[in-house]
Symmetry: C3
Subunit: 311 residues, 3 copies
């Protein structure tokens, strides 16, 4: 069965439910590889992957690097400060050069929304979006959805509350696109400056009260608060944020026992979430990290042309 014929993964917005499910099913198969003693399959042997990070992100870079190594690909890391971008070269020229090196796949992290789309249209190499500004972070969205599906057995009808800095969050956007496509009910929670009512046009519900969703949510996905936002008008004081939107112990006690507590990391303990709750039985935060490898293996494998799910 063939479920994927795309060269790139630039976002979840344009994917069909069948394509998302294909990646999730592939990831399930690949997850087993990470549990083995010899965590390597020869699927991408002789392929070259370039991790091209124009914005730093050790976690995402490392996750893609490990995923590629498990598929036996060769990995070259290029970070922005070291790259020739400093010499005034355009993104397009840099990318054409990477392709001229016969890179088969380019994993791109970049501050400009649409940057991976821009490259995908111009290059023969596969482009995997590892975060483009406030636009999308599709592999993060996929790993969140994978984790929900693995734990709850379905996505259809699941009530997912995403809490925090939604307006500027590529993580939120990729989650919304993917979850909606698979039939989840998504509610966005946060102050009006960060979660304006206008976001409802994405097919989600908006509320400014976390307490309203605690009893009914099947999943609570707490986004990381960017401290630098505090200086701006968007953001109340940190103490005020905790009291209004933090998952404190008392709020956690009101969750359904089956409700999953998620966070894309790194966690600000005591801000978005109480430290004990982050380590508690409902938290799947570290499983998200583990699932990130499997999801990224699936994406790399699919974009490299592996159209059937590996046995």
């Amino acid at each position: 069965m063939s479920g994927w014929s795309r060269k790139d993964l630039t976002g979840l917005d344009g994917l069909s439910a069948a394509e998302i499910l294909f990646l999730l099913d592939s990831a399930k198969a690949f997850k087993g590889v990470g549990e083995r003693s010899l965590k390597k399959v020869p699927a991408l042997r002789g392929k070259t992957l370039v991790n091209f990070f124009v914005e730093p992100s050790t976690r995402t870079r490392t996750s893609f690097e490990v995923a590629a190594m498990r598929l036996s690909a060769d990995v070259v890391n290029i970070s922005a400060t070291a790259s020739s971008l400093q010499k005034g070269e355009t993104l397009k020229d840099t990318a054409l050069n990477l392709q001229a090196l016969r890179a088969d796949m380019i994993v791109l992290r970049h501050s400009s929304p649409g940057s991976s789309h821009f490259l995908a249209r111009r290059l023969d190499a596969s482009i995997i979006n590892a975060g483009d500004g406030a636009h999308e972070h599709p592999t993060q969205g996929l790993l969140d959805i994978f984790t929900i599906r693995e734990k709850l057995g379905r996505i259809e009808g699941v009530e997912v509350a995403i809490v925090g800095d939604i307006l500027f969050s590529r993580v939120a956007r990729s989650n919304i696109f993917g979850l909606r496509k698979l039939g989840a009910k998504v509610t966005l929670v946060g102050p009006p400056t960060l979660v304006p009512k206008s976001l409802e046009q994405l097919g989600v519900r908006v509320t400014h009260s976390i307490d309203e969703v605690l009893a009914s949510a099947d999943v609570l996905n707490l986004l990381r608060i960017q401290h630098e936002r505090q200086r701006q008008e968007f953001f109340p004081g940190l103490g005020e944020y905790v009291s209004l939107f933090g998952l404190t112990k008392s709020r956690a006690a009101r969750l359904k026992p089956t409700c999953l507590v998620m966070h894309p990391g790194p966690v600000n303990r005591g801000v978005e979430i109480d430290s004990e709750v982050a380590d508690g039985p409902q938290s799947v935060i570290l499983e998200q990290v583990t699932n990130g490898i499997a999801v990224r293996m699936a994406v790399l494998y699919a974009c490299a042309g592996g159209s059937s799910i590996p046995a």
Copy 2:
């Protein structure tokens, strides 16, 4: 047939025509590897290559890294800012330490002319010069010559014009040494401050007018302008440089249709070359990048003792 018995590649100056041709022929054989789906041969399996870059250069480092991976070597990257050179260690001590780690090959980028020669004489490891100050950049010279030979079928008698900042250019020097050895006719073009008449003692012609070479050149190799030179007396304003030496659209129209347009990158679009011309049919700029991998594979293979051309 054995065509190479050197441990190191420090420059093209001391090589015989036969040695250069051996590397070019080997590169041709290796180029095929980069076109395959499985781009890997076991030639250097179990060998350790250290990319030791005391000056940053993402492109050259990446090209050597990919070349080494395709030969199945293990690659360790060391950059200057991270290295123990910061602690006041001498280049020689650092290199002896790399050798003590049983590095088989050290690729060295360093700001001091002669640095790779210095190490080559003192170490058992193979030293590959990846640029030493304003002295030589032999693999860049080889990849330029490889590209000319591939496209035009010969080097003997070919008219090559090298345009720009020649005085400080290791790329120009390596090109001149290699091209001359193989019988090309080389003309250097640029302002008198950057291309003094005294360079004619290298066996080349010097002119201060690009318009003089346009009609006859088989190859135009446009070197990158270093913006930092502008502050010095060497360099007219950028606008003046473009009007006097830039390959504008109107100048490009006067080239022979078969004339190759080359640039070692990264290109300053609109300075050394018009943006459309850089992307036009006569430009082989990206092919130079691709050929860089093949040439570096050939150099690594030869210096590691692979004296016959791989089948």
Copy 3:
């Protein structure tokens, strides 16, 4: 024969003589691998090692990287400045994330004494201490001891003088613990501010005169002087240090011809040691570097569960 059942190597302090000897014997077997043309064994194929360096150290990182590659492990490098520690994440959270990536082994360099112990107790992954503040640097201790044993044929009864900045030296501490356990006689040499009498409680002798140990020492291990200490009260002027504690040519002439001269590097030529003496016949400084690979291969192999010495 099984000689090792630990998951981690956090220090030499807690090891038995049998465990240390097991690692030394394994290192001897692995040393042969580095002398071969194909320097690779499949022992850790499919295992993932993370080099997690929160303090920079190119030498130690490179040594672990080469050791891991020779064992066919996959290596991911994470340095502090690039890591998410910058975003305020705790060491524990970062490490839990590395483990969630299914890293089998984490090599940790960190400025806090006890940091690797802290992680070893909390993680399933193997933790290898690559230097934790002024506490221990066990693989450096092991490679020093390995080198002594290889050259002199024994450790029991060997007279080892360690000279310099002992008070703040993790290298000295790991040497002391390991050497004492195997029956060496250790003397510490340096100014009272850096080598207080109280160190004798570690089972060693303390002297403030290097001249006192020259005639009897079987090994002189000269520690690196940290220039930044000069600003503090601990340290006389550099000239004064050389005259009181430096291994000058005249002092070297009074050593036994069989006495080994060691230094963990990088050497301050003309400070801890005269430049000619550092390159002289009694110096084993570069052999220490080579042995570092073998010792680290042994440690990685043992902690990964390879409990019998490889054939």
